[in-house]
């Protein structure tokens, strides 16, 4: 659909630097370019046999500002109305996205409201797609009537499992995008082999990236946690660290699911059992790996990652209507008789 393609193109040409994303200007531009590049020359097909939602509310999270793009484009291409609930702390990206689509005559609008003042946006929605904290998604779910189709995504933990240094440079891009704050950002790298070499490659890559794409804002609360984790690694093993990045090397029992911007811990592990133990009980998102395909399948089957991708692919979109392993179109669409 030409109007959608044009809207995405205009959106991608905007300068996101003033949007209060928390990223550096370069980081915001890098993220927007990465998010919009796959659309060039692509069409967004809606499956035959499924009626798209008439009116979809997309409840946006603040950490990955480009997240609504794919679903706005997909649903608009299918002819639906879209209401974006912009995060009140970071409203500009969703407002800009809506403007780009509306300028092409597409029925997309955005509202920047706190959660508790935005419930009325759900009126008349026949589908809701939500991203945010677990508590926000629970609250949203409770507001929806039984007939409203929904796909709500709370917090997920993504990571990398590697054996050796092959392709690990790709993880640098995964960690730099959104400063590591997204659900698809790797919170840790589990190294089955050559852990130190992996750490060195990551450190070199992050140092280099911090010149071209500086890290964005560091929240006050993150600073002590950052210094604690680097200090812990120095005491228990060792750490590579610069002003804006760190690669602490720590035993897997010190794995922590909390992401910190541009901090990518490397955990040497003996086998996948050790990884499974570290990740036990966590809601898993995506996993980047350089294992050969048969071994990589274990990351899905044994560890439970719904998505397994090569290094550098954690934030990639196939534009196939899936978020993680969920076909959003199948969930939000209605089967035609």
């Amino acid at each position: 659909m030409a109007a959608v393609a044009q809207a995405v193109s205009v959106y991608g040409a905007m300068d996101p630097a003033p949007w209060h994303t928390g990223l550096s200007p370069e980081g915001a531009r890098f993220a927007l370019a990465h998010a919009t590049a796959p659309y060039a020359g692509r069409s967004l097909a809606w499956p035959a046999g499924l009626r798209p939602p008439r009116r979809t509310v997309i409840w946006c999270a603040g950490n990955v500002f480009t997240a609504p793009l794919e679903w706005t484009a997909t649903l608009a291409a299918a002819g639906g109305q879209i209401v974006l609930k912009a995060p009140s702390a970071v409203p500009e990206p969703a407002l800009a996205l809506a403007r780009c689509f509306a300028a092409q005559g597409l029925p997309v609008q955005a509202h920047a409201l706190p959660h508790d003042q935005a419930w009325h946006l759900l009126d008349d929605a026949d589908a809701v797609l939500g991203f945010g904290s677990d508590s926000a998604m629970l609250a949203l779910d409770a507001r929806l009537g039984p007939s409203v189709r929904r796909a709500l995504f709370g917090h997920r933990v993504s990571a990398a499992v590697v054996a050796g240094v092959r392709d690990v440079e790709g993880l640098v891009g995964d960690a730099v995008l959104y400063d590591g704050r997204g659900c698809k950002s790797p919170v840790a790298v589990f190294a089955l082999a050559e852990a130190e070499a992996v750490a060195e490659r990551l450190a070199a890559g992050l140092a280099e990236a911090s010149v071209a794409v500086p890290r964005g804002r560091m929240e006050a609360a993150w600073g002590p946690r950052w210094r604690r984790r680097v200090g812990l690694a120095r005491i228990l093993d060792h750490a590579h660290a610069g002003d804006e990045w760190a690669v602490p090397v720590l035993p897997a029992r010190w794995f922590e699911p909390e992401p910190l911007p541009r901090l990518v811990p490397v955990h040497p592990v003996a086998d996948l059992g050790e990884v499974r133990q570290a990740l036990a009980g966590l809601p898993l998102g995506s996993c980047a790996t350089n294992l050969d395909p048969s071994a990589a399948r274990a990351l899905h089957q044994v560890l439970g990652f719904p998505v397994v991708t090569p290094p550098g692919g954690l934030h990639a979109t196939a534009l196939d209507g899936h978020h993680e392993d969920t076909d959003i179109r199948a969930v939000l669409g209605e089967e035609l008789p």
Binding site: A220, A221, W222, G223, P224, R227, R228, G231, L232
Partner: protein, 321 residues
């Protein structure tokens, strides 16, 4: 090293230059003798007090930074959950010297011979630094607090029967617990009330002014109120007798930008404590504050920081009651 620091604490107020020289020497000594600190500090080569690698207090919950000969340990409050921070010491000599000297300087004529303590008794809680401090300041103290049951009913009886000025050593939540119980006293003029431990708990937040008003209504109004700011990880304390918290000359206080850890006009309180001779001398807290004119103003906890402080034990007990 210990003797040099003892001289520093007992001698005339050191110049900034002397303090810096002593701190840098102590840091190098610690780097040599505390393996974990050596690993933590890495290649740091500090030239001024703020350069000395400051250990985040949260790190001390994960790993002890311990001299091989350390045998005495103080632990942070560990009530309902979580690991406790540990402060390991080879001995408590400088801790005690520091505590006594600065208290006697800041709170002269305190009636310590008649002390009622609402903090954990060292015999029952040997890892409580607060209890240890109060015992040092007031060896004859009577103890009326239990970590499990809170303030004992005997506290009011003792307060009411006190014939002479009294030193009441309490945390904010223990004082609130005391005031929740029936009782009335008229403490003699010259009595001193020491409140410490913070007013923000896990479940409730106390209003300092309201607490004081309530206390004056029940204990008498002619009391001297003093505030103590200390931490398990430090050997020295700051005292507030009405003009802000004053650190002793051997305790350098500075503030750091929480995000970067670098010096800032206000932010995280960081300490270089030369009484910490066998334990990390530089500590980064999760308390926010400002240092002005030699006094420290507390501005609360860093958002999202884990609640801590000796008041929490009393809050837990009060909540259970």
């Amino acid at each position: 090293m210990k003797d040099r620091l003892q001289d520093l604490i007992t001698g005339p107020t050191p110049s900034r230059q002397d303090l810096t020289a002593a701190a840098l020497a102590l840091f190098e000594w610690q780097r040599e003798h505390l393996p974990a600190l050596r690993a933590f500090a890495g290649e740091a080569r500090p030239t001024q007090l703020e350069d000395i690698p400051a250990v985040p207090v949260s790190l001390l919950r994960d790993v002890p930074i311990r001299h091989p000969e350390a045998f005495q340990v103080f632990r942070t409050s560990g009530t309902t959950s979580g690991r406790r921070g540990e402060h390991w010491l080879v001995d408590t000599d400088l801790y005690e010297l520091s505590a006594r000297r600065w208290f006697e300087h800041c709170v002269p004529d305190c009636p310590v011979h008649c002390t009622l303590s609402l903090v954990p008794e060292p015999a029952r809680a040997p890892d409580s630094s607060l209890g240890h401090m109060v015992q040092q300041l007031a060896p004859q103290a009577t103890w009326h607090f239990d970590a499990r049951t809170g303030v004992a009913p005997s506290a009011w009886q003792t307060l009411a029967a006190a014939p002479e000025p009294l030193f009441l050593a309490t945390t904010a939540f223990a004082l609130a617990d005391l005031l929740d119980q029936p009782g009335q006293a008229q403490l003699a003029p010259g009595s001193v009330v020491m409140v410490t431990g913070g007013f923000k708990g896990r479940r409730t937040t106390l209003d300092a002014a309201t607490l004081r008003t309530r206390a004056e209504a029940r204990l008498g109004s002619g009391l001297r109120w003093v505030g103590e700011y200390g931490m398990t990880e430090l050997s020295s304390q700051c005292w507030d007798t009405g003009a802000g918290y004053r650190p002793p000359p051997w305790l350098h206080v500075w503030t750091a930008d929480p995000a970067t850890g670098r010096p800032a006009p206000e932010g995280l309180l960081c300490f270089v404590d030369l009484a910490n001779w066998s334990s990390p001398l530089a500590i980064e807290t999760e308390d926010l504050g400002r240092v002005c004119g030699g006094t420290v103003t507390l501005l609360g906890r860093l958002p999202q920081a884990r609640p801590r402080g000796c008041s929490l034990t009393a809050e837990e007990a009060r909540w259970r009651r």
